[in-house]
Protein backbone atom coordinates (compact mmCIF):
# COMPACT_ATOMS: atom_id res chain seq x y z
CA UNK A 1 0.00 0.00 0.00
CA UNK A 2 1.36 3.39 -0.98
CA UNK A 3 2.31 5.96 1.64
CA UNK A 4 -0.05 8.97 2.01
CA UNK A 5 1.30 12.43 1.18
CA UNK A 6 1.81 14.71 4.17
CA UNK A 7 0.28 17.77 2.45
CA UNK A 8 -3.24 16.99 3.68
CA UNK A 9 -4.58 16.25 0.20
CA UNK A 10 -5.53 12.68 1.10
CA UNK A 11 -3.76 11.35 -2.01
CA UNK A 12 -0.98 8.78 -1.87
CA UNK A 13 2.44 9.11 -3.50
CA UNK A 14 1.52 6.69 -6.30
CA UNK A 15 -1.49 8.82 -7.22
CA UNK A 16 0.54 11.98 -7.08
CA UNK A 17 3.25 10.78 -9.49
CA UNK A 18 2.75 12.20 -13.00
CA UNK A 19 -0.30 14.16 -14.17
CA UNK A 20 -1.60 17.30 -12.44
CA UNK A 21 -0.54 18.17 -8.86
CA UNK A 22 -2.67 16.65 -6.06
CA UNK A 23 -4.74 19.73 -5.18
CA UNK A 24 -5.53 20.29 -8.83
CA UNK A 25 -6.60 16.67 -9.19
CA UNK A 26 -8.88 16.98 -6.16
CA UNK A 27 -10.29 20.15 -7.68
CA UNK A 28 -11.04 18.31 -10.93
CA UNK A 29 -12.85 15.61 -8.94
CA UNK A 30 -14.92 18.25 -7.13
CA UNK A 31 -15.71 19.94 -10.45
CA UNK A 32 -16.83 16.57 -11.82
CA UNK A 33 -19.61 16.37 -9.22
CA UNK A 34 -20.52 20.04 -9.49
CA UNK A 35 -18.99 20.96 -6.12
CA UNK A 36 -17.67 24.31 -7.35
CA UNK A 37 -16.90 25.82 -3.96
CA UNK A 38 -15.00 22.70 -2.94
CA UNK A 39 -13.01 22.90 -6.17
CA UNK A 40 -12.28 26.59 -5.55
CA UNK A 41 -10.90 25.69 -2.12
CA UNK A 42 -8.56 23.03 -3.58
CA UNK A 43 -7.40 25.40 -6.33
CA UNK A 44 -6.65 28.15 -3.81
CA UNK A 45 -4.40 25.63 -2.08
CA UNK A 46 -2.82 24.62 -5.39
CA UNK A 47 -2.10 28.24 -6.25
CA UNK A 48 -0.93 28.99 -2.72
CA UNK A 49 1.75 26.37 -3.32
CA UNK A 50 2.48 27.39 -6.93
CA UNK A 51 0.99 30.75 -8.03
CA UNK A 52 2.54 30.42 -11.50
CA UNK A 53 0.51 27.38 -12.54
CA UNK A 54 -1.56 28.45 -15.56
CA UNK A 55 -3.89 25.42 -15.60
CA UNK A 56 -4.89 26.00 -11.96
CA UNK A 57 -5.76 29.63 -12.78
CA UNK A 58 -7.85 28.48 -15.77
CA UNK A 59 -9.69 25.84 -13.72
CA UNK A 60 -10.26 28.38 -10.95
CA UNK A 61 -11.74 30.72 -13.54
CA UNK A 62 -14.15 28.01 -14.74
CA UNK A 63 -15.26 27.33 -11.15
CA UNK A 64 -15.77 31.05 -10.49
CA UNK A 65 -17.98 31.28 -13.59
CA UNK A 66 -20.20 28.57 -12.12
CA UNK A 67 -20.52 30.51 -8.87
CA UNK A 68 -21.31 33.70 -10.81
CA UNK A 69 -18.10 35.51 -9.72
CA UNK A 70 -17.50 36.77 -13.22
CA UNK A 71 -15.12 39.64 -12.43
CA UNK A 72 -12.74 37.31 -10.59
CA UNK A 73 -13.23 34.64 -13.27
CA UNK A 74 -12.09 37.08 -15.97
CA UNK A 75 -9.09 38.08 -13.85
CA UNK A 76 -8.05 34.43 -13.35
CA UNK A 77 -8.49 33.56 -17.04
CA UNK A 78 -6.33 36.52 -18.05
CA UNK A 79 -3.71 35.48 -15.48
CA UNK A 80 -3.69 31.94 -16.94
CA UNK A 81 -3.14 33.37 -20.42
CA UNK A 82 -0.34 35.65 -19.20
CA UNK A 83 1.44 32.56 -17.90
CA UNK A 84 0.59 30.32 -20.86
CA UNK A 85 -0.80 32.24 -23.87
CA UNK A 86 -1.66 29.09 -25.82
CA UNK A 87 -3.62 27.32 -23.10
CA UNK A 88 -7.03 26.38 -24.61
CA UNK A 89 -8.71 26.20 -21.18
CA UNK A 90 -7.54 29.76 -20.48
CA UNK A 91 -9.18 31.06 -23.66
CA UNK A 92 -12.29 28.97 -22.97
CA UNK A 93 -12.61 30.36 -19.43
CA UNK A 94 -12.05 33.90 -20.66
CA UNK A 95 -14.70 33.48 -23.37
CA UNK A 96 -17.28 32.07 -20.96
CA UNK A 97 -16.57 34.72 -18.31
CA UNK A 98 -16.91 37.52 -20.84
CA UNK A 99 -20.11 36.00 -22.25
CA UNK A 100 -21.56 36.04 -18.74
CA UNK A 101 -20.82 39.77 -18.56
CA UNK A 102 -22.50 40.44 -21.90
CA UNK A 103 -19.19 41.25 -23.68
CA UNK A 104 -20.16 39.18 -26.68
CA UNK A 105 -17.54 40.29 -29.23
CA UNK A 106 -14.59 39.72 -26.90
CA UNK A 107 -16.15 36.43 -25.79
CA UNK A 108 -16.45 35.28 -29.40
CA UNK A 109 -12.77 36.10 -30.04
CA UNK A 110 -11.66 34.09 -27.01
CA UNK A 111 -13.83 31.08 -27.89
CA UNK A 112 -12.68 31.14 -31.51
CA UNK A 113 -9.11 31.22 -30.25
CA UNK A 114 -9.88 28.09 -28.21
CA UNK A 115 -11.06 26.37 -31.38
CA UNK A 116 -8.00 27.58 -33.29
CA UNK A 117 -5.80 25.92 -30.67
CA UNK A 118 -7.97 22.84 -30.27
CA UNK A 119 -10.32 22.45 -33.27
CA UNK A 120 -12.42 19.71 -31.65
CA UNK A 121 -13.03 21.51 -28.34
CA UNK A 122 -16.72 20.80 -27.69
CA UNK A 123 -16.89 23.26 -24.78
CA UNK A 124 -15.83 26.10 -27.06
CA UNK A 125 -18.42 25.07 -29.66
CA UNK A 126 -21.16 25.00 -27.05
CA UNK A 127 -19.98 28.42 -25.83
CA UNK A 128 -20.12 29.80 -29.36
CA UNK A 129 -23.59 28.28 -29.84
CA UNK A 130 -24.72 30.05 -26.66
CA UNK A 131 -23.30 33.30 -28.04
CA UNK A 132 -25.40 32.86 -31.19
CA UNK A 133 -28.43 32.27 -28.97
CA UNK A 134 -27.74 35.45 -27.00
CA UNK A 135 -27.49 37.37 -30.27
CA UNK A 136 -30.85 35.89 -31.39
CA UNK A 137 -29.21 33.93 -34.25
CA UNK A 138 -30.96 30.55 -34.08
CA UNK A 139 -29.54 29.36 -37.40
CA UNK A 140 -25.94 30.05 -36.31
CA UNK A 141 -26.62 28.34 -33.00
CA UNK A 142 -28.01 25.25 -34.74
CA UNK A 143 -25.04 25.05 -37.14
CA UNK A 144 -22.56 25.24 -34.28
CA UNK A 145 -24.43 22.55 -32.34
CA UNK A 146 -24.51 20.27 -35.42
CA UNK A 147 -20.76 20.76 -35.73
CA UNK A 148 -20.32 19.83 -32.08
CA UNK A 149 -22.46 16.73 -32.61
CA UNK A 150 -20.24 15.58 -35.47
CA UNK A 151 -17.14 16.01 -33.34
CA UNK A 152 -18.58 14.51 -30.14
CA UNK A 153 -21.60 12.32 -30.89
CA UNK A 154 -21.40 10.76 -27.43
CA UNK A 155 -21.29 14.02 -25.47
CA UNK A 156 -24.58 14.37 -23.59
CA UNK A 157 -24.10 18.16 -23.29
CA UNK A 158 -24.39 18.47 -27.07
CA UNK A 159 -27.57 16.40 -27.12
CA UNK A 160 -28.99 18.53 -24.30
CA UNK A 161 -28.12 21.74 -26.14
CA UNK A 162 -29.80 20.46 -29.31
CA UNK A 163 -32.83 19.34 -27.31
CA UNK A 164 -33.05 22.78 -25.71
CA UNK A 165 -32.75 24.40 -29.15
CA UNK A 166 -35.80 22.42 -30.35
CA UNK A 167 -37.66 23.07 -27.09
CA UNK A 168 -37.21 26.82 -27.47
CA UNK A 169 -38.52 26.53 -31.04
CA UNK A 170 -41.58 24.64 -29.79
CA UNK A 171 -40.56 21.40 -31.60
CA UNK A 172 -41.35 19.07 -28.74
CA UNK A 173 -41.00 15.76 -30.62
CA UNK A 174 -37.44 16.59 -31.74
CA UNK A 175 -36.62 17.98 -28.30
CA UNK A 176 -37.82 14.73 -26.73
CA UNK A 177 -35.67 12.70 -29.18
CA UNK A 178 -32.49 14.55 -28.12
CA UNK A 179 -33.45 14.44 -24.44
CA UNK A 180 -33.89 10.67 -24.62
CA UNK A 181 -30.59 10.19 -26.48
CA UNK A 182 -28.85 12.31 -23.81
CA UNK A 183 -30.53 10.19 -21.11
CA UNK A 184 -29.24 7.01 -22.78
CA UNK A 185 -25.69 8.43 -22.77
CA UNK A 186 -25.76 9.77 -19.18
CA UNK A 187 -28.93 9.05 -17.22
CA UNK A 188 -27.95 10.88 -14.01
CA UNK A 189 -26.38 14.11 -15.27
CA UNK A 190 -28.29 17.17 -13.94
CA UNK A 191 -28.48 18.98 -17.27
CA UNK A 192 -30.13 15.91 -18.86
CA UNK A 193 -32.62 15.68 -16.01
CA UNK A 194 -33.36 19.39 -16.23
CA UNK A 195 -34.13 19.12 -19.97
CA UNK A 196 -36.45 16.17 -19.29
CA UNK A 197 -38.12 18.23 -16.55
CA UNK A 198 -38.53 21.24 -18.80
CA UNK A 199 -40.12 19.03 -21.44
CA UNK A 200 -42.49 17.56 -18.85
CA UNK A 201 -43.38 21.07 -17.67
CA UNK A 202 -44.06 22.18 -21.25
CA UNK A 203 -46.36 19.17 -21.61
CA UNK A 204 -48.22 20.20 -18.45
CA UNK A 205 -46.87 17.34 -16.30
CA UNK A 206 -45.99 19.47 -13.28
CA UNK A 207 -45.35 16.62 -10.81
CA UNK A 208 -43.07 14.82 -13.25
CA UNK A 209 -41.16 18.06 -13.85
CA UNK A 210 -40.77 18.55 -10.09
CA UNK A 211 -39.40 15.01 -9.69
CA UNK A 212 -36.80 15.65 -12.40
CA UNK A 213 -35.75 18.93 -10.76
CA UNK A 214 -35.35 17.27 -7.37
CA UNK A 215 -33.52 14.34 -8.91
CA UNK A 216 -31.09 16.77 -10.57
CA UNK A 217 -30.56 18.64 -7.28
CA UNK A 218 -29.74 15.38 -5.55
CA UNK A 219 -26.75 15.15 -7.88
CA UNK A 220 -25.78 18.81 -7.76
CA UNK A 221 -27.42 20.89 -5.05
CA UNK A 222 -26.33 24.11 -6.74
CA UNK A 223 -27.28 23.29 -10.32
CA UNK A 224 -28.73 26.59 -11.60
CA UNK A 225 -30.82 24.84 -14.28
CA UNK A 226 -32.49 22.58 -11.70
CA UNK A 227 -33.15 25.50 -9.34
CA UNK A 228 -34.58 27.53 -12.21
CA UNK A 229 -36.82 24.60 -13.17
CA UNK A 230 -38.06 24.27 -9.61
CA UNK A 231 -38.68 28.00 -9.49
CA UNK A 232 -40.61 27.84 -12.79
CA UNK A 233 -42.79 25.10 -11.28
CA UNK A 234 -43.47 27.25 -8.21
CA UNK A 235 -44.20 30.22 -10.44
CA UNK A 236 -46.85 28.20 -12.27
CA UNK A 237 -48.76 27.58 -9.07
CA UNK A 238 -49.35 31.21 -8.17
CA UNK A 239 -50.16 34.07 -10.52
CA UNK A 240 -48.43 36.69 -8.38
CA UNK A 241 -45.29 34.61 -7.81
CA UNK A 242 -45.33 33.69 -11.48
CA UNK A 243 -45.36 37.37 -12.43
CA UNK A 244 -42.50 38.10 -10.07
CA UNK A 245 -40.49 35.12 -11.41
CA UNK A 246 -40.92 36.19 -15.05
CA UNK A 247 -39.96 39.75 -14.16
CA UNK A 248 -36.97 38.50 -12.21
CA UNK A 249 -35.75 36.26 -15.06
CA UNK A 250 -36.20 39.12 -17.51
CA UNK A 251 -34.24 41.47 -15.28
CA UNK A 252 -31.46 38.95 -14.61
CA UNK A 253 -30.89 38.64 -18.35
CA UNK A 254 -30.16 42.37 -18.47
CA UNK A 255 -27.14 42.33 -16.17
CA UNK A 256 -26.39 44.95 -13.51
CA UNK A 257 -26.31 47.95 -15.85
CA UNK A 258 -29.51 46.95 -17.61
CA UNK A 259 -31.31 46.47 -14.31
CA UNK A 260 -30.22 49.88 -13.05
CA UNK A 261 -31.33 51.48 -16.32
CA UNK A 262 -34.76 49.77 -16.25
CA UNK A 263 -35.50 50.50 -12.59
CA UNK A 264 -34.24 54.06 -12.53
CA UNK A 265 -35.92 54.77 -15.89
CA UNK A 266 -39.23 53.48 -14.51
CA UNK A 267 -38.79 55.58 -11.35
CA UNK A 268 -38.10 58.70 -13.41
CA UNK A 269 -41.11 58.17 -15.69
CA UNK A 270 -43.44 57.64 -12.72
CA UNK A 271 -42.12 60.70 -10.85
CA UNK A 272 -42.39 62.96 -13.90
CA UNK A 273 -45.85 61.63 -14.78
CA UNK A 274 -47.01 62.20 -11.18
CA UNK A 275 -45.71 65.78 -11.26
CA UNK A 276 -47.27 66.51 -14.67
CA UNK A 277 -50.64 65.12 -13.52
CA UNK A 278 -50.43 67.28 -10.37
CA UNK A 279 -49.65 70.37 -12.48
CA UNK A 280 -52.65 69.59 -14.69
CA UNK A 281 -54.87 69.49 -11.60
CA UNK A 282 -55.47 65.73 -11.87
CA UNK A 283 -54.53 65.00 -8.31
CA UNK A 284 -56.65 61.82 -8.19
CA UNK A 285 -54.76 60.25 -11.10
CA UNK A 286 -51.48 61.45 -9.65
CA UNK A 287 -52.28 59.87 -6.28
CA UNK A 288 -53.37 56.62 -7.97
CA UNK A 289 -50.10 56.44 -9.90
CA UNK A 290 -48.10 56.98 -6.72
CA UNK A 291 -50.10 54.25 -4.97
CA UNK A 292 -49.53 51.77 -7.82
CA UNK A 293 -45.79 52.53 -7.69
CA UNK A 294 -45.77 51.98 -3.93
CA UNK A 295 -47.60 48.63 -4.26
CA UNK A 296 -45.12 47.49 -6.95
CA UNK A 297 -42.20 48.59 -4.77
CA UNK A 298 -43.57 46.72 -1.74
CA UNK A 299 -44.29 43.59 -3.80
CA UNK A 300 -40.81 43.63 -5.32
CA UNK A 301 -39.53 43.60 -1.75
CA UNK A 302 -41.88 40.92 -0.41
CA UNK A 303 -41.99 38.78 -3.60
CA UNK A 304 -38.47 37.34 -3.35
CA UNK A 305 -39.00 36.36 0.30
CA UNK A 306 -42.27 34.55 -0.52
CA UNK A 307 -40.64 32.90 -3.49
CA UNK A 308 -37.66 31.77 -1.45
CA UNK A 309 -39.92 30.32 1.24
CA UNK A 310 -41.83 28.32 -1.40
CA UNK A 311 -38.59 27.11 -2.95
CA UNK A 312 -37.08 26.13 0.41
CA UNK A 313 -40.15 24.00 1.09
CA UNK A 314 -39.48 22.11 -2.14
CA UNK A 315 -35.75 21.83 -1.45
CA UNK A 316 -36.45 20.02 1.83
CA UNK A 317 -37.25 16.99 -0.33
CA UNK A 318 -33.72 16.95 -1.74
CA UNK A 319 -31.37 14.31 -0.37
CA UNK A 320 -27.82 14.72 -1.66
CA UNK A 321 -26.06 11.67 -2.96
CA UNK A 322 -23.28 10.30 -0.69
CA UNK A 323 -20.27 11.43 -2.75
CA UNK A 324 -21.36 15.06 -3.18
Amino acid sequence: MSEELDDGSGLNREEAVGGPPPWERLAAQAMGVGNWNGAIHHLRRALGADPERAMAHALLSLCLIHTNRLFAATHEARRALELEPELPEGHLALGLALRGQGKLKEARRALEQTLALEPEHTGAMLGLAALHRQAGDRTGERQMLERALQVAPDDESVHVALGTWHLVGGELVEARRYAESARTLSPDVPEVLVLLGELALREGKVNEARDFAIWALQHDAMDPGALALLASIQARQSVLLGLWWRYSVWMQARGDRGQIAVLMGAWLVVQLATQVLTDLGRTGASGALSTVWLVVAIYSWVGPALFQAALEKELKRVRLRDDF
Binding site: R44, R45, A49, P51, F71
Partner: protein, 157 residues
Amino acid sequence: MPADLLYRIVDEPSPSPWKKAVVRPFWPWLAMALAGTWLAVPWFIVNALALGSPTRRREIALAAAVPVLMVLVVVGAQLLFGLSEGRVPYVLVAVRFAKLLAGYVLFTWQARAFQLHEHFGGDGRNGVLVLMVGFMLREKVLKGLGDVSPFLLLGGL
Protein backbone atom coordinates in the same frame (compact mmCIF):
# COMPACT_ATOMS: atom_id res chain seq x y z
CA MET B 1 -2.90 24.56 5.37
CA PRO B 2 -2.73 27.96 7.12
CA ALA B 3 -4.99 30.65 5.68
CA ASP B 4 -2.03 32.83 4.67
CA LEU B 5 -0.81 30.07 2.32
CA LEU B 6 -4.11 30.08 0.47
CA TYR B 7 -4.18 31.96 -2.81
CA ARG B 8 -6.28 35.14 -2.51
CA ILE B 9 -8.90 35.59 -5.25
CA VAL B 10 -9.21 39.16 -6.47
CA ASP B 11 -12.85 39.73 -5.47
CA GLU B 12 -12.47 38.45 -1.90
CA PRO B 13 -12.91 41.02 0.86
CA SER B 14 -9.69 42.14 2.60
CA PRO B 15 -9.47 41.72 6.37
CA SER B 16 -10.92 44.81 8.05
CA PRO B 17 -10.77 45.91 11.71
CA TRP B 18 -14.30 47.34 11.29
CA LYS B 19 -15.89 43.99 10.46
CA LYS B 20 -18.47 44.38 13.22
CA ALA B 21 -19.86 47.47 11.52
CA VAL B 22 -20.82 45.61 8.32
CA VAL B 23 -24.47 45.96 7.34
CA ARG B 24 -26.39 44.56 4.39
CA PRO B 25 -26.03 47.32 1.71
CA PHE B 26 -29.80 47.42 1.49
CA TRP B 27 -29.84 49.57 4.67
CA PRO B 28 -27.69 52.50 3.47
CA TRP B 29 -29.57 52.29 0.17
CA LEU B 30 -32.89 52.58 2.02
CA ALA B 31 -31.39 55.42 4.07
CA MET B 32 -30.61 57.22 0.81
CA ALA B 33 -34.30 57.07 -0.11
CA LEU B 34 -35.87 57.66 3.32
CA ALA B 35 -33.43 59.62 5.50
CA GLY B 36 -31.21 61.49 3.06
CA THR B 37 -27.67 61.64 1.79
CA TRP B 38 -26.42 63.15 5.07
CA LEU B 39 -26.87 59.66 6.57
CA ALA B 40 -26.53 57.41 3.53
CA VAL B 41 -23.22 58.77 2.18
CA PRO B 42 -21.21 58.25 5.39
CA TRP B 43 -22.94 54.91 5.90
CA PHE B 44 -21.96 53.65 2.45
CA ILE B 45 -18.38 54.80 3.10
CA VAL B 46 -18.18 53.08 6.50
CA ASN B 47 -19.68 49.93 4.99
CA ALA B 48 -17.14 49.95 2.14
CA LEU B 49 -14.29 50.11 4.67
CA ALA B 50 -15.88 47.54 6.98
CA LEU B 51 -16.53 45.09 4.15
CA GLY B 52 -13.02 45.56 2.78
CA SER B 53 -14.51 45.10 -0.66
CA PRO B 54 -12.13 45.10 -3.65
CA THR B 55 -14.06 48.04 -5.13
CA ARG B 56 -13.97 50.12 -1.91
CA ARG B 57 -11.95 53.01 -3.37
CA ARG B 58 -14.45 53.33 -6.21
CA GLU B 59 -17.35 53.08 -3.74
CA ILE B 60 -15.91 55.78 -1.46
CA ALA B 61 -15.24 58.08 -4.41
CA LEU B 62 -18.77 57.71 -5.75
CA ALA B 63 -20.37 58.11 -2.32
CA ALA B 64 -18.36 61.29 -1.69
CA ALA B 65 -19.36 62.59 -5.12
CA VAL B 66 -23.11 62.26 -4.48
CA PRO B 67 -23.68 65.69 -2.79
CA VAL B 68 -21.50 67.32 -5.45
CA LEU B 69 -23.52 65.61 -8.16
CA MET B 70 -26.79 66.87 -6.66
CA VAL B 71 -25.50 70.42 -6.46
CA LEU B 72 -24.31 70.18 -10.08
CA VAL B 73 -27.81 69.14 -11.19
CA VAL B 74 -29.28 72.23 -9.48
CA VAL B 75 -26.63 74.56 -10.92
CA GLY B 76 -27.03 72.98 -14.38
CA ALA B 77 -30.81 73.41 -14.26
CA GLN B 78 -30.40 77.04 -13.13
CA LEU B 79 -28.00 77.78 -15.99
CA LEU B 80 -29.99 75.94 -18.65
CA PHE B 81 -33.61 76.73 -17.77
CA GLY B 82 -33.65 79.10 -14.79
CA LEU B 83 -35.26 78.08 -11.53
CA SER B 84 -38.77 79.50 -11.83
CA GLU B 85 -41.37 78.37 -9.29
CA GLY B 86 -43.07 75.99 -11.72
CA ARG B 87 -39.83 74.25 -12.56
CA VAL B 88 -38.60 73.63 -9.04
CA PRO B 89 -40.53 70.32 -8.57
CA TYR B 90 -38.99 68.97 -11.79
CA VAL B 91 -35.50 70.02 -10.73
CA LEU B 92 -36.08 68.24 -7.43
CA VAL B 93 -37.08 65.09 -9.34
CA ALA B 94 -33.77 65.38 -11.26
CA VAL B 95 -31.84 65.85 -7.99
CA ARG B 96 -33.51 62.81 -6.42
CA PHE B 97 -32.85 60.85 -9.59
CA ALA B 98 -29.12 61.64 -9.45
CA LYS B 99 -29.01 60.72 -5.78
CA LEU B 100 -30.92 57.44 -6.14
CA LEU B 101 -29.01 56.43 -9.26
CA ALA B 102 -25.68 56.83 -7.45
CA GLY B 103 -27.16 55.01 -4.43
CA TYR B 104 -28.31 52.13 -6.58
CA VAL B 105 -24.91 51.77 -8.22
CA LEU B 106 -23.28 51.78 -4.77
CA PHE B 107 -25.79 49.22 -3.57
CA THR B 108 -25.02 46.94 -6.55
CA TRP B 109 -21.25 47.14 -5.96
CA GLN B 110 -21.52 46.53 -2.23
CA ALA B 111 -24.06 43.73 -2.65
CA ARG B 112 -21.43 41.67 -4.52
CA ALA B 113 -18.89 42.19 -1.75
CA PHE B 114 -21.50 41.44 0.91
CA GLN B 115 -22.40 38.14 -0.79
CA LEU B 116 -18.77 37.06 -0.56
CA HIS B 117 -18.54 38.38 3.02
CA GLU B 118 -21.45 36.07 3.88
CA HIS B 119 -19.92 33.22 1.89
CA PHE B 120 -16.81 33.40 4.10
CA GLY B 121 -18.92 33.20 7.24
CA GLY B 122 -19.37 36.92 7.93
CA ASP B 123 -22.71 38.42 8.87
CA GLY B 124 -24.32 41.83 8.75
CA ARG B 125 -25.77 43.95 11.55
CA ASN B 126 -29.40 44.91 11.35
CA GLY B 127 -29.51 48.52 10.17
CA VAL B 128 -33.14 49.19 10.97
CA LEU B 129 -32.43 51.18 14.18
CA VAL B 130 -29.97 53.53 12.48
CA LEU B 131 -32.46 53.97 9.66
CA MET B 132 -35.32 54.78 12.03
CA VAL B 133 -33.25 57.27 14.01
CA GLY B 134 -32.03 58.83 10.74
CA PHE B 135 -35.58 59.06 9.46
CA MET B 136 -36.74 60.81 12.66
CA LEU B 137 -33.77 63.20 12.69
CA ARG B 138 -34.16 64.03 9.01
CA GLU B 139 -36.20 67.20 9.49
CA LYS B 140 -33.88 68.55 12.21
CA VAL B 141 -30.77 67.87 10.15
CA LEU B 142 -32.27 69.50 7.06
CA LYS B 143 -33.26 72.59 9.05
CA GLY B 144 -29.74 72.79 10.47
CA LEU B 145 -28.20 72.45 7.03
CA GLY B 146 -30.69 74.93 5.58
CA ASP B 147 -29.13 77.69 7.67
CA VAL B 148 -25.81 76.99 5.97
CA SER B 149 -26.77 76.77 2.33
CA PRO B 150 -29.85 75.99 0.24
CA PHE B 151 -27.67 73.69 -1.85
CA LEU B 152 -26.77 71.64 1.19
CA LEU B 153 -30.49 71.55 2.01
CA LEU B 154 -31.02 69.97 -1.38
CA GLY B 155 -28.11 67.65 -0.69
CA GLY B 156 -29.88 66.42 2.40
CA LEU B 157 -32.97 65.41 0.46
